[in-house]
Every structure is written in structure tokens, then in C-alpha cells.
Symmetry: C2
């Protein structure tokens, strides 16, 4: 090897929140990161394993909430990953504050790779290649966002327009755009310089904290006070609850990325999906000859184009087309696959009946 | 009251067999008669309650099998019905032999009303009126079959053509016809003198045994030997197993009704259904404003024309049309309502996967 090995990066894995879009598989008490969606491993485990190579990555800092902390710790232990810290948020205050806790825990000079814990990345080599490019820019105090190459005019994501090239594979971020209407999304896709904002970031901890100080000082102040007042139990870090509760609830995008100067985007064509719907899970899943994606004790005679999953009762889908059928021991969902963004209507209807089995 | 009260009739309730057509609600270990399909009571309970009026009916003789005997006894006890006898068939040998056991148990002079235990009769007054007409003919040693007035060209039932009128509401049976192809079923319906053979009979026990002696003597011989060798435990009657096993396995229709001379048909327009499919259960069920028939913890936002049932997990059917969705703790079935006769394909597919949860 010539010279210094490249600097290691500390993964920051955000595993909070529940998400209703994959109900009934995900629900209160079993949030999406902890569910096995695409593999025998949960999304959290896949995220941790994706950044487990010790040549590139240090032990991760994991940020979660009190409800999920035991399950998160247990799932990581099951795959042999020991976090450097497991930060237990006393209350959810958005990603800007959560990442501030991780940055303060890590120390200013550490490079942080911030990742949601419930995304699919089908091409880990492409992901690693982007990490390699981004960490050099991050060392130069760029706040680097991963910009996922769009393959469709998606209206459910924010977009980042890239500006001038900073170095190979890293560009100045010219503009952060909100979730666009369809016509604008089509224009972004055609224009070619827009990427999806996937919520994956690489930066020096101190550079992030400096930007927070400049653009959202209340968040930094609350996170710092919460960190000063933290208690520890092994790897678990419990920030001070009262102090942290004073942090404004904001996303990193809104608090920092849309405002800071040295923001870069690293285009990433890495088979990314946020698996934000059953339709999305069908799209990325292995299909049988009839276009069904099945998981668990399932039979599908005469059915086609369906997503059929169970981790509870055996499911027989007979002669049906383009449905989502998901069963657990507690709940069953049946709906047209193309309308899977409507799953909240099912949850609302159940709420109206006062069921406790949802969130 | 003038003169003698009419002679009482002894119900013979046949509660054997499993039936796969309402899987997964019915299955091995939970046959259709024991399931609550149309009411808080099971089909067996509804059948017993339909013939519980002591002014007209004596205590029933119930014929079941060893697997179901305890459940049958328990369900009858729950509604306050004490059978005269609970005959536990050592092995299934068809309805001709089962009814022979009941006839031998009852004694020659008793009038028997033989009924399957899993049929719906929506108009109990009409049913009672047919019983009243049929029992007079039965006392004159006619073997009376209940002929259900057809309302559609059903190809799944046998038909009985009526001949000359014997008395008010009772006709000589001119012809028993097998399940017809559709064109023939349409012709039967148009012709007007054909009725569905619902498997409900009223006759004197001795008249049935005489007809059996004439047309299926092997069945009578085996049933008689099994009865001679029976053991008793309270109301339970256990016929001799080896003797009964020698009975040919035949239906009462084939063994007796299609051959005997004094066979009559009593037309019955009584809201009858054998609930032979999920489609049939949807047809007779109470529909909401969207044409859904639901039962259990179910929500159906945006869905129409569906049958949705659960006695296990909560079910959300969202934006789907004309489906059958049935859930238990062990299995979930989803299929188009109009194809519900195909449920066996689901069971076969599960068998092919070696699931034990079916029959």
C-alpha cells in the first residue's frame, strides 16, 4: 500500500420513528428499520452490515428512541456489530438535532456518514465508491449529500440540483428543491442535473456543528446542553431530556443543508430505494414467473403481479392480480398494488374503530 | 285443540364430514357444521334450534364422527339441546348407512326428519309447513324428499322431477336427475316441475329400512350388525366398528331414493342454501351500502362487493372489489368472489407445499 490508508468514517445510523407506510408489517412497537423486508436481515442490520468493513468504517454511532433501544441493541448484537455509542433520544426532535447529538458524541474531527436505517441499496460497490469520493470532500469541510440518480419523475422526494464540479464525482449543491409536482419532476428528470435527496450525508462532525451554529443555533444549544447532561450505561448514552426537548424539531435539510455555503452533492447510482410503499417493495423484489413477489408461507395459484407476504398465518392468493396482501399474526391488509400509498386510509379506518393494533 | 295432536317427528341431524369449500374457516378439525357462518350460532346449532319446538319435534338423533363428537355434544349443550342419541360413526360410510344407524336406533314406527347440519333455511315457517305436509305422507310410508324450489339454473345440485300430486304439497317423485350441465339446468328451471335435491328427508324409520332391505341389503346388514354390537356411554352410541366398516359407502339418493317405489317430493320454497361456497355466503349475507358482507374485526374503506371475514387477525380491505377475503389465526384466503368454487386449488397448492393447516 502506498502512503496512508484512507481515513476511516464513522457511520451514524438513525433508527427512530415508526412509519405507517408498510403497515401491517411495520407498526408501533415494530418500526420499519427493525423489520425484515428484503433479506433475512432487518433493514437496520443491512444498514449496519453495509458499513461494517473495518478498513473503511469505524464502529457506528446509532441514534434511536427509548421504545426501540433494546430491540436495536439486540439486532446489532445478533450480527456482531457493537456500536461505539447507542444514543437514546429522550424525545424525537427531528434529524437536525439527532445528528447534532451524534456529532457531539463523535468529536469535531471525526468524519460522519449519516444514514437512515430503512433504505435499500442494491449496489453496495457503487455506494462504497461514493463514500470514497465524498469523504475527501468532507475532509475539506464540505457537507456532502448523496444525490441519488433519478430513474423516474418521483413526486415523493426532494431534489438537489448540482452545480459546478468540485472534484471527481462531487459537485457544489446549487439548489435544494421541495417535493415537486409531477410536471416539475418530469422537467427535473429531463434536465439531468437533479438528484434525489436520500437523506444520506458525509461530513466532518465539526463542520456540521459549525453550520448548525450559523443557521440553527437553538438546535445546537439544546443538543449541547443535552449532551453535557447525559448519563451513560455501557454504550448507551442518555442525553438530558429537558434540555433536548428545547430543540426545535427540524430536519437537517431545512435547518442546515438548504442554507449552508459549503454544501456538495455526490451523485450516487446505487440501486437505492427508501421502500416507501408496498409498491416500492414489489418493484425491487425478486419476482416469480407470474410477477409475484412472495415472502413467508404463501401460495399464489393463478395469481400475478402481487406482493404477498406473511409472518403469521399461511396465505393463499388464488387467481388475483396486482394486489398487495400482507399478513401478520395481528392484521391483514389487502389492497391494489398501484394504490399502496393509500395504506393510511386503512389505518385511519381501524383507528375509527378503536383498534389498538395499529399506530 | 281438536282430537289428537299431530305426531311428533324425530330430527336426524347428520354432522359428519369436513368440507373444503369454505376453507380456511372450515377445515380438518373444524368442519363446516361447527362453524358460525350466518349467525352467532353454528350451522349445527341453527339446525338443532330449527327443530327444537317440542310440540312438533322429539329430541334429535345426531350422527357424527369420533373426531367431532365432543365438539358436537358441547355445541348442542350450549344451546340447551339434549339429543336422544349421539351416534358416533366409527368410520364414514356415506349417508345411506348413517341414516340406517339412526333408523335402527329410533325404532320402526318413529318418523324421522333427516337433515344435513350445514344448510341455511332463511324461512323457518315455510320449512315447518313442509314438515307438516310431509309427515302425513310419511305416515303412509312414502319416503318424502324436500324439493327446494330452484331460483337459478344451478349445475351443482341434483334435481327431482315431480309427478302426480299425492296430496296437498306432496307429489310422487317422477325422476331423480344427476347434477346437470348448464343447458339442461336452464331447461329444468324453465320446465317448472324440477326441484333441487337438498338432502332433507322425512319418512318412517321402518319404511326406510324396508327400502334399504330391498335395494341395498348389504348396507342394512352392516348397519344392523353394527347396531347389534354397539356400546353406549350415556347418550353416546358407538356402533361396532368392524361390522359398520363392511357397509358399502353410498348416498341415500343412490342407494334408496333413486330406486324405491314410494318416493315423494314435497316442494319447499324456504330460503334454502347449502352455503356451498363463499359466493353463496355472500349471496345470503347482510350487505352494507357498498355490497360488502363482513364479519369480525374488519374495515373495508373504498371496497365493494366483497366478502370479508375474520376470526383471527384484524383485516383491512382497501379499495378492492368483488373479492373473498377470509382470515383465521392459521390461514388467509384471497380470491375473486365469482371464482370461489376454485378454493380447492388453494388447498391443493398448500398440500403441495406440505402444509398441515388444511385438510
Amino acid at each position: 500500500m502506498n502512503g496512508q490508508p484512507p481515513e476511516r468514517v464513522t457511520p451514524v445510523i438513525l433508527s427512530g420513528g415508526a412509519g405507517t407506510r408498510l403497515w401491517p408489517l411495520s407498526r408501533l412497537g415494530r418500526p420499519k428499520p427493525l423489520v425484515r423486508l428484503t433479506a433475512p436481515e432487518s433493514m437496520l442490520q443491512l444498514t449496519a452490515l453495509r458499513t461494517a468493513d473495518p478498513a473503511t468504517f469505524a464502529a457506528p454511532i446509532v441514534v434511536t428512541n427509548a421504545d426501540d433501544a433494546d430491540a436495536v441493541a439486540g439486532q446489532l448484537e445478533d450480527i456482531g456489530v457493537t456500536p461505539a455509542s447507542l444514543i437514546v433520544e429522550p424525545v424525537a426532535r427531528g434529524t437536525a438535532a439527532a445528528i447534532a447529538l451524534a456529532a457531539l458524541e463523535a468529536g469535531d474531527e471525526v468524519l460522519l456518514l449519516v444514514m437512515p436505517s430503512d433504505h435499500e441499496i442494491a449496489d453496495p460497490d457503487a455506494f462504497r465508491a461514493v463514500v470514497d469520493k465524498a469523504r475527501i470532500a468532507a475532509r475539506q469541510d464540505w457537507l456532502v449529500t448523496f444525490g441519488v440518480t433519478p430513474h423516474r419523475p418521483e413526486t415523493g422526494y426532494g431534489y438537489i440540483k448540482r452545480g459546478e464540479a468540485l472534484r471527481a464525482g462531487v459537485f457544489r449543491a446549487a439548489h435544494f428543491a421541495e417535493k415537486p409536482p409531477l410536471e416539475l419532476a418530469i422537467a427535473y428528470l429531463a434536465e439531468g442535473s437533479y438528484a434525489w435527496n436520500a437523506g444520506i450525508f458525509l461530513f466532518r462532525a465539526g463542520a456540521y456543528l459549525d453550520a448548525l451554529d450559523a443557521h440553527a443555533p437553538d438546535i445546537l444549544r439544546a443538543a449541547r446542553a443535552a449532551t453535557d447532561g447525559r448519563t451513560r450505561d455501557g454504550i448507551r448514552v442518555m442525553p438530558d431530556s429537558d434540555a433536548f426537548a428545547r430543540a426545535p424539531n427540524e430536519s437537517i435539510d431545512r435547518a442546515v443543508m438548504e442554507k449552508a455555503d459549503r454544501v456538495a452533492v455526490a451523485p450516487a447510482d446505487m440501486g437505492w430505494s427508501d421502500i416507501g410503499s408496498w409498491e416500492a417493495l414489489h418493484a425491487i423484489g425478486d419476482k416469480d414467473a407470474d410477477g409475484n413477489v412472495v415472502s413467508g408461507d404463501v401460495v399464489t395459484p393463478g395469481s400475478s403481479g402481487c406482493l404477498v407476504r406473511t409472518d403469521g398465518p399461511v396465505v393463499a392468493a388464488l387467481g388475483v392480480t396486482d394486489l398487495v396482501i400482507v399478513a401478520t399474526e395481528r392484521a391483514v391488509l389487502v389492497m391494489p398494488r398501484a394504490e399502496s400509498q393509500r395504506v393510511k386510509e386503512a389505518i385511519e379506518a381501524l383507528h375509527a374503530r378503536n383498534r389498538g393494533e395499529t399506530q
